[in-house]
């Protein structure tokens, strides 16, 4: 008995084979008695499975469905629906880098509050600047994990598009990390005698957080989540090394990078604008692609 033909017998019976396979199976069956016996077995199963248990009363399409077809949600309903979708992603977030990230943020905030009392004032912004953007970027890299994403089936079969799902997760993850960063800045401002206002301190890490997360979103979807996480770590780690070297001794570069640690609304607005454009482009790109085509294996 030909094993490959044997596997096709159920689809020979239900006539779902293409012409070539059908002809091949048909030809094989004329010469192979064991396969014909197998076919008879499958035919019995097919008859039993397909047997209709009497009439199947089908209800009318519900008036409630018809009422919903032309229903346009109000702004309030749309906001509530979006909030529900974002909140529903908390299960995914809980399984990623978010919780360790939050712990790191709280720890760094406490550290800021303590060391800023005794060290030079230009160190105050370093811990949150170092931690928040990379925590956000690593969480962002794993927003959609392709091959084992728990939402795979949902994406395949529900009105929730991949773009909507990814940006719901992005909102939740960045919102949570941003909130913790804000609390850290607040603690530093209250306890650390910081030289800047609270909002200036937030702007120092918020801009890089948005920019690095947006870059990671693009890299994650265009290349691979693991590559994006590694690239973000490398980029941010390199930048921190340069900054710390400049803070503690002779700079490694001819150009000073310390301006990154100084509050500046122009700098923040530029970072936020570039991040917004990257995310807008990502949204438009995702909207034109089915989920499967984004998989790295599928693109090859």
């Amino acid at each position: 008995m030909n094993q490959h033909v044997d596997e096709l017998l159920p689809f020979y019976i239900n006539q779902a084979l293409n012409q070539d396979d059908r002809a091949r199976v048909h030809s094989h069956l004329t010469a192979c008695a064991p396969c014909r016996a197998e076919l008879e077995g499958w035919e019995s199963i097919a008859r039993a499975t397909a047997a209709e248990p009497g009439d199947w009363p089908v209800p009318e399409l519900s008036p409630l469905v018809y009422a919903s077809l032309s229903h346009r949600p109000s702004v309030r309903q749309a906001v509530a629906s979006a909030a529900h979708l974002i909140w529903s992603q908390r299960v995914f977030i809980a399984n990623t880098w978010l919780l360790p990230s939050l712990g790191s943020l709280i720890g760094s905030a406490a550290l800021v509050a303590l060391i800023s009392r005794s060290l030079a004032e230009n160190w105050v912004n370093v811990p949150l600047f170092a931690v928040v953007p990379i925590a956000a970027a690593l969480t962002t890299a794993l927003l959609y994990t392709f091959e084992d994403d728990p939402s795979g089936e949902l994406i395949a079969a529900a009105p929730t598009s991949l773009a909507t799902l990814i940006f719901a997760r992005l909102c939740l993850a960045l919102g949570a990390i941003g909130l913790m960063g804000f609390v850290g800045s607040l603690l530093a401002a209250l306890l650390g005698q910081a030289p800047h206002s609270l909002f200036e301190m937030v702007g120092i890490w918020l801009g890089p957080m948005l920019l690095l997360s947006a870059l990671t979103t693009v890299t994650s979807l265009c290349v691979h989540p693991r590559f994006a996480a590694g690239a973000a770590l490398g980029l941010w780690g390199g930048l921190l090394i340069l900054l710390l070297a400049e803070q503690t001794g002779p700079p490694l570069l001819r150009v000073s990078l310390l301006w990154l640690l100084q509050p500046g609304w122009t700098l923040f607005a530029g970072q936020a604008l570039v991040a917004g454009l990257l995310w807008l482009g990502t949204w438009l790109w995702l909207s034109g692609h089915p989920a499967a085509s984004l998989h790295p294996e599928g693109r090859s």
Partner: protein, 216 residues
């Protein structure tokens, strides 16, 4: 009762989950290719889908008239509750209306309808049946309930023996022989690799033979 959770969203550690992960290349290159071979060009429902995407309610009614019976049969089989199945059928039609614009003809419309119905059934199962019963016998891909762990040779009737199969195997048989899906379409609906469909079919056949051996 059904193994709707088999191979679905939260199935960490399940066989289906592992198979989907490990054979993603097969899933992408195999399922898509096979499904596309049967796709839009020859699909008589494609015109209806285009009209639904253009917000034509009459087209939705026409699609419902054509497929409601099959979908209801599928949903009742999965949920074991005709009333709930009817509710899920209505939810499915609403989901079709809302997502018709995103249908890209990667598979037959019928396959897509079954996929949406399955997802809706899984949601309904977790929302309405699982919390009440506090019983999750469906985490395993082909896990058998106590009733299904029948002694060999217990059944004389093939129809009765079919009911004793693990849900994942019965669902696969139904998609192939009741709904007439191809290998790729069945894999698409179940969200598993084509190889998993083949192995489920053959395990189902072996199990049926085992259940009926003493009766022959």
């Amino acid at each position: 009762m059904p193994s709707l959770a088999a191979g679905n969203s939260g199935g960490e550690g399940t066989e289906a989950h592992a198979l989907v992960t490990n054979s993603m290349r097969n899933y992408i290159t195999g399922v898509l290719d096979i499904a596309q071979n049967h796709a839009a060009d020859a699909d008589p429902d494609l015109r209806l889908m285009q009209r639904i995407a253009a917000q034509d309610q009459a087209a939705l009614q026409a699609l419902y008239d054509k497929h409601a019976s099959g979908l209801l049969h599928y949903l009742s089989g999965r949920l074991g509750d005709d009333r709930l199945a009817e509710d899920v059928l209505q939810e499915t039609m609403l989901a079709i209306w809302q997502s018709a614009r995103r249908f890209r003809g990667q598979c037959q419309v019928r396959t897509w309808l079954l996929t949406i119905a399955r997802r809706r059934a899984i949601n309904a199962y977790h929302r309405q049946i699982a919390p009440a019963s506090r019983n999750e016998p469906f985490d395993g891909d082909e896990q058998q309930t106590a009733e299904q762990q029948s002694a060999p040779g217990r059944y004389l009737d093939l129809n009765a023996a079919l009911l004793a199969l693990p849900e994942a195997q019965r669902e696969t048989l139904e998609l192939v022989f009741y709904h007439g899906l191809s290998l790729g379409e069945t894999a698409w609906v179940l969200h598993v690799a084509p190889g998993t469909v083949k192995s489920r079919l053959h395990r189902a056949k072996a199990r049926l033979r085992e259940l009926m051996d003493a009766g022959e």
